[in-house]
Amino acid sequence: MWNDVWLVAGKDLRIEWRSRVTFSQVLPFALLVLVLFGFALDANRPVLDAATSGLFWITVLFVALTAVQRSTSLETTDGARRALLLAGVEPAAVFLGKALAVAVQLLFVEVVLVGGVIILYNAAVESFPLLVATLLAATIGIAATGTLLGALVAGVRARETVLPILLLPVLAPVLIGATRAFDDALGTAAVDGWAWLGLLAGFGMINVVLGALAYGVLLEET
């Protein structure tokens, strides 16, 4: 099973490495959103300081939408889904592999974005372990939920428009939890970031399990 997970994740990441979509399109888009937030808030320092964590995670959610769309379209073009089914790979392994590939790309963008908020928003990292743990826990939750819902809308024409309305409300706890944990890690608000980390981890676990269980049904029946 784990071999298959690495296989699928490796396949998606290899396609990504060769096409450079995340690097040449998603990453500039993410930085652009950071700049736009700066314009929208009139580069008002106190407001930007207070809102840095929230803006960071909103940007990550936008990036997640594009990453999931991309990950899904890899399987829908040229009927690759059928081929994946015929390959005899366990659906749960396909799910974990694809989620892992999305998570790796998200983490890559997030690391650059952290640099972005340090430079553009003048943020300072006060707790490095909390920052890293939050990035990991939140990203697992986002990637798992996104991969599951991406597969759910894979076969339909309106998938670009329906994915945000499905994914974003469900990710509300991640936005709230990761923002609060970041507030602690960046020292912008007095909250217990580690408590929020527990919630993020719980969210991630539920979605990894649900996704692994439901992915096969979606792959075969829709």
Partner: protein, 244 residues
């Protein structure tokens, strides 16, 4: 084929239900506006709970029905349960919207604000509302009956599984809450106000049952129509073939 044509989705039971809903609504309006006294603190705004609380209760009843229907589809592939889940979700969205609307209208004179971000139930209900709109949009995506049912069921189960964690996150997010503790259990309501509230709950329950049955029958007929249309089209094509 003439006898197969269905002209309406009513039956004796639904007509009886519909009539009781109508009578109940008239009674509720009379009780709510003329018999129940104004509240000491909230004055006339208290009358909003006769709609707000029943709507909130049946929002949850509807969405629990949808969650059960979703699980039953995944376990048994029962199209009956899938149709129930879809019908309940539509009515649930209606009730949920009504809950949010009446809540904000009530909040304006009572809390002096339409919306309060610090209120857990308010924010959770709004997220639930948006999630269920997502569920309904999945149902309307098209494709085969089975594929639609499976997609919708996965969204339904996911929503039900995540709702507690959403509620928890909102609760932690803002620890202070303006929202009244459950009005029914804290014993503050009494006399005609309490009685009217119970009438409201009963009427809303009857309305829920009535609209659920009708919506279920419409969905069922829609599905039958699609399959008979296909069968008819096939027969027509075959008949053309024979003529040559």
């Amino acid at each position: 084929m003439e006898s197969d044509i269905v002209e309406h989705t009513g039956s004796r039971t639904t007509r009886l239900l519909g009539a009781s809903v109508f009578v109940g609504l008239v009674a509720l309006v009379l009780l709510g506006f003329f018999v129940a006294p104004p509240d000491d603190d909230q004055l006339d705004a208290v009358r909003m709970i006769f709609i707000h609380v029943p709507s909130a209760i049946f929002t949850y009843v509807a969405f629990v029905t949808t969650a059960i229907g979703s699980v039953m589809w995944l376990l048994r592939r029962s199209i009956w349960w899938d149709t129930v889940a879809g019908a309940a979700a539509e009515i649930g969205v209606l009730f949920c919207g009504l809950t949010l609307f009446t809540g904000s209208v009530w909040g304006r004179p009572t809390w002096n604000t339409y919306w309060d971000w610090g209120d857990v139930r308010l924010v959770t209900t709004l997220i639930l509302f948006l999630m269920m709109i997502g569920y309904l949009s999945v149902r309307s995506l098209g494709g085969s009956v089975e594929a639609t049912a499976t997609r919708a069921a996965v969204v339904g189960v996911l929503g039900a599984a995540l709702l507690p964690i959403i509620n928890r996150s909102v609760e932690w997010w803002e620890n202070n809450t303006l929202h009244q503790k459950s009005s029914l259990t804290d014993g503050k309501l009494e006399g005609m106000t309490l009685f009217t509230l119970f009438v409201g709950i009963v009427v809303w329950g009857l309305f829920f049952a009535w609209s659920l049955i009708h919506r279920f029958r419409i969905s069922w007929l829609e599905r039958e129509l699609r399959t008979t249309d296909l069968d008819q089209a096939l027969r027509d094509r075959r008949a053309e073939g024979h003529r040559v």
